[in-house]
């Protein structure tokens, strides 16, 4: 099962839980799943059909660029991190 890591500043919404198992096939479904468990969290993770501005999605250490439509492998780590723009 995949594991979604909760950014520390959103953990007040999860009662301090820092990660949880998720079953969604893509990131959109994963965020919906998180919203069901932790109401209000989706607002911080997505804006309409896109990830929230300034957020990057990292799956198993690799930045994924397809946003909510990124497929989630059955066993992986999902991280929501600050987006990086280089110089």
């Amino acid at each position: 099962m995949a594991t979604a890591f909760i950014p520390p500043n959103l953990r007040p919404l999860t009662g301090g839980i820092d990660r949880c198992a998720v079953t969604g096939a893509n990131v959109r479904q994963v965020i919906a799943e998180l919203e069901t468990r932790f109401p209000g969290i989706a607002h911080h993770l997505r804006q309409g059909d896109a990830l929230s501005p300034g957020l990057a999605l990292v799956i198993d250490g690799v930045v994924a660029s397809r946003g909510l439509w990124t497929a989630v492998p059955p066993t992986c780590e999902i991280h929501f991190l600050p987006a990086i723009a280089g110089g």
Binding site: A64, G86, G87
Partner: protein, 758 residues
């Protein structure tokens, strides 16, 4: 989708790793290359921008009538000529920009947030007329108190820039306006328990000044708003497509109505991604019906474009007496300048990125101040963070009486290490890079003489992937014309061409690369994030595979066999004893169906991080505080060095900029928020007189996420120099420098204080 083929196991290349003469070399050394300011066309007129003299003020009125009445003045524009933007975010590949803030930065609306902010612009027949017209624009300001230092801006009674920001200094959303735009937090393990296990704990505070990217070519843009409503822009930009997107959004046009032609670029380093002049030149052209060129002076660049953030950082690290790091804590505040910025994020992610620290916590704050909106600068945010972390690492190594590099090696991040921000590293090359430093003769070389010292430091940068496109046409003479979308900085068109040449088994000189405009090549993200040789190179590799597939079909036609029976090896197509070189087959395309065009677009993800180590020797003049660098060795993992000379050039260039940041460069502000050194006479960048030969050592730990093992190389070399120099100064004269730049007055003051404390 991009693919990785058999190259992962290929160890011997014919083109990669060689040093061909760059394709654009002749034009650049003879002065024939077309840079932004070389754009000429019939009817061209000249634009200039009026900038705020105040660091913070309300704009009560702008009267442009006197300027408009001047003979030879063709247009005067203010923010009234741009549609107000809502709080909307435009995505620029991985980064994004808030269009409301961006339009305010282009031409101020109602308020100015920093001295140098654009307020109005003029187009006139000559540059001098335009400048004269600026003087006739009457702007009535109501000055407001300004704040330029981060910690002052975080105080409860600080002057407020934006009423809508409500984060308090604890990162909580409050009811009162503040200057804090963002709070970032990372946690790993149990920090309190980690520190409880530590035998040595060291905590220090650091300050760094704002520094500018210092590109030698000031910003310049030319725009022609055609009668058919199509806007064409020639710009010195790091990304033609992101320039197009920002400009179209600000002008309220679909992107299909804007074409951006990237000119050659005289440096960017992250400072030429956000638009400044392009929309202004466009609306001036719309107003006057002529092509308009707008350029900046050096002072405009300093005062009106993004420097890198000034910062305040507190770092606490704990280690066991066996030399194992067990806990870390960092608190970072980066100034965003006038509008929220995004550099605090990577700063927080990089600060402990070189180490395997099981328990760590990082808090970061993005803080608005009355300075230009900060922008990316080579590994944005990482240099500030490394200066702080590496200095404390050195102190701990000394306290434990351990060799500083051995201590780093013992605690180095490697494959499987979990970073403080969460992800686990794939195969990385930090261990090999530190080992190369340990084995380098410089590290053990005798260091003699008064007030001389040696320092080491390491640095990390993520590198990024993003989207790239390329297409190539096979010519009848066996050459290949390549068009790709990445603005060439540092010789990237050649490193991309070399990867195509390798894939096709031809010489680098037989690929003829050029950079396309937004109408002639597929979408390509910015030249930044150390991504071009990685991602655009990958696109060229895919182009090569596409050409090989098509050429095999042509060979099969001539040999009357199935395409899968045709093999390709080292530039030759073969089948059952028949053989044709790439060039021979290229000459027969006309009789087998016509031209062959290969094309590819990629969006690769496995960019792989980059690590660098510096060894530096200095001599400190204890009567003046001047630091002279005696020897400098920069060691870096490049994955696979496609063109070693360019990799060395990036290492040397980045190191030189890191040295400038460390020793001299800074924005000086007076108490009114005015920059007092907005020229290269007073803003002290290093010159050839200040620098020794920088010995660049390339380590190659192939990136498993790229067909040729490439890692980006352009950014990480700027990361370790300030920390390495601070350590070297400590070894030379016994003082710990915790503030950048370590300019002569500061070093002298530190020496004097140390002497008086004795």
């Amino acid at each position: 989708m991009a693919t990785i083929e058999d190259q992962k196991t290929k160890t011997e290349y014919k083109v990669l790793g060689t040093r061909p003469i760059r394709h654009d070399g002749t034009d650049k050394v003879t002065g024939r290359a077309i840079y932004g300011n070389d754009v000429r066309m019939t009817g061209l007129v000249h634009g200039r921008v009026l900038r705020s003299p105040h660091a913070h003020a309300k704009i009560k009125s702008i009267d442009t009538r006197a300027a408009e009445a001047m003979p030879g003045v063709l247009a005067v524009v203010t923010s009234a000529h741009l549609e107000p933007m809502k709080d909307k975010v435009a995505f620029l590949g991985e980064g994004s920009v808030n269009l409301h803030d961006l339009t305010q930065n282009i031409l101020a609306r109602g308020k100015v947030f920093y001295r140098g902010q654009a307020v109005a612009a003029v187009a006139a027949l000559t540059p001098h007329l335009a400048e004269e017209a600026l003087e006739r624009i009457r702007v009535e300001y109501e000055p407001l108190p300004a704040v330029t230092w981060i910690l002052d801006a975080m105080k409860p009674d600080a002057p407020i820039l934006h009423e809508h920001l409500r984060l308090d200094a604890n990162g909580k959303q409050g009811n009162k306006p503040t200057n804090i735009a963002k709070h970032i937090q990372f946690e790993l393990g149990d920090v309190a328990a980690g520190f409880a296990k530590a035998d040595v704990i060291i905590e220090r505070e650091f300050k760094t000044a704002s520094v500018h990217q210092g590109y030698i070519e000031p910003h310049v843009a030319t725009a022609l708003w055609n009668q058919d409503g199509h806007v064409k822009i020639w710009s010195s930009t790091q990304g033609s497509f992101t320039c197009r997107q920002q400009t179209a959004e600000l002008l309220g046009l679909p992107v299909s109505r804007v074409t951006v032609v990237p000119t050659e670029i005289g440096g960017g380093f992250g400072g030429k991604i956000r638009v400044y002049l392009e929309p202004v030149a466009a609306i001036l052209s719309r107003q006057c019906g002529r092509p308009v060129k707008v350029s900046m002076s050096r002072a405009d660049c300093f005062e009106g474009t993004g420097p890198t953030p000034g910062s305040f950082i507190r770092v606490k690290l704990g280690a066991t007496k066996e030399g194992r790091l067990v806990a870390g804590e960092a608190w970072l505040a980066y100034d965003a300048g006038a509008f929220p910025a995004g550099i605090i994020g990577p700063g927080c992610m990089c600060i402990f990125a070189c180490y395997d620290i099981p328990n760590a916590k990082v808090d970061g704050f993005d803080v608005c101040v009355n300075k230009p909106n900060t922008a990316a600068y080579r590994a944005p945010g990482a240099t500030n963070a490394a200066f702080a972390c590496e200095t404390v690492i050195d102190e701990i190594a000394l306290a434990l009486k351990l060799d500083p590099l051995e201590f780093r090696l013992k605690n180095a991040a490697r494959e499987g290490t979990r970073r403080v921000d969460g992800p686990v590293y794939p195969r990385i090359g930090l261990v090999e890079t530190i080992q190369a430093a340990l084995a380098h003769p410089h590290y053990r070389a005798p260091l003699e003489g008064k007030n001389r010292g040696r320092g080491v430091a390491v640095g990390y940068w993520f590198n990024i992937g993003l989207k790239s496109s390329a297409a190539a046409n096979v010519n009848p003479d066996g050459t290949v014309s390549l068009i790709e979308g990445s603005t060439d900085i540092g010789g990237t068109r050649t490193s991309a061409a070399m990867q195509l040449a390798e894939t096709l088994g031809i010489r680098a000189e037989e690929v003829l690369p050029q950079v396309g405009d937004t109408d002639s090549v597929g979408y390509t993200d910015v030249t930044g994030g150390s991504r071009v040789t990685f991602a655009t190179g990958w696109a060229c590799y895919e182009v090569g595979l596409d050409i090989r597939r098509q050429m095999a079909e042509r060979a099969a036609m001539l040999w009357e066999c199935a395409p899968h029976e045709v093999e390709f090896d080292a530039g030759t197509f073969r089948r059952n004893g028949d053989a044709m070189t790439f060039r021979e087959l290229a000459g027969r395309l006309g009789e087998t169906g016509g031209p062959v065009v290969g094309r590819a677009t990629v969006d690769p993800h496995g960019s792989g991080g980059a690590f660098a180590v510096n060894i530096v020797d200095v001599e400190v003049d204890d009567e003046t505080g001047k630091v002279s660098i005696q020897r400098f060795t920069a060691i870096q993992d490049a994955g696979k060095a496609i063109h070693p000379s360019y990799v060395e050039g990036q290492i040397q260039g980045g190191s030189a900029q890191g040295i400038g940041w460390a020793l001299n460069e800074e924005y000086f502000y007076d108490d009114q928020g005015r920059m007092r050194n907005a020229s290269f006479l007073d803003y002290r960048m290093p010159t050839a007189y200040d620098l020794p030969m920088i010995d660049a050592v390339i380590v190659e730990v192939p990136n498993p996420g790229h067909p040729y093992g490439v890692r980006g190389v352009g950014e990480v070399p700027i990361v370790p120099p300030p920390a390495a120099l601070a350590v070297a100064i400590h070894r030379a004269v016994g003082v710990r420098m915790t503030e950048l730049p370590m300019s002569p007055p500061k070093v002298f003051a530190a020496i004097a204080k140390a002497r008086s404390d004795k």
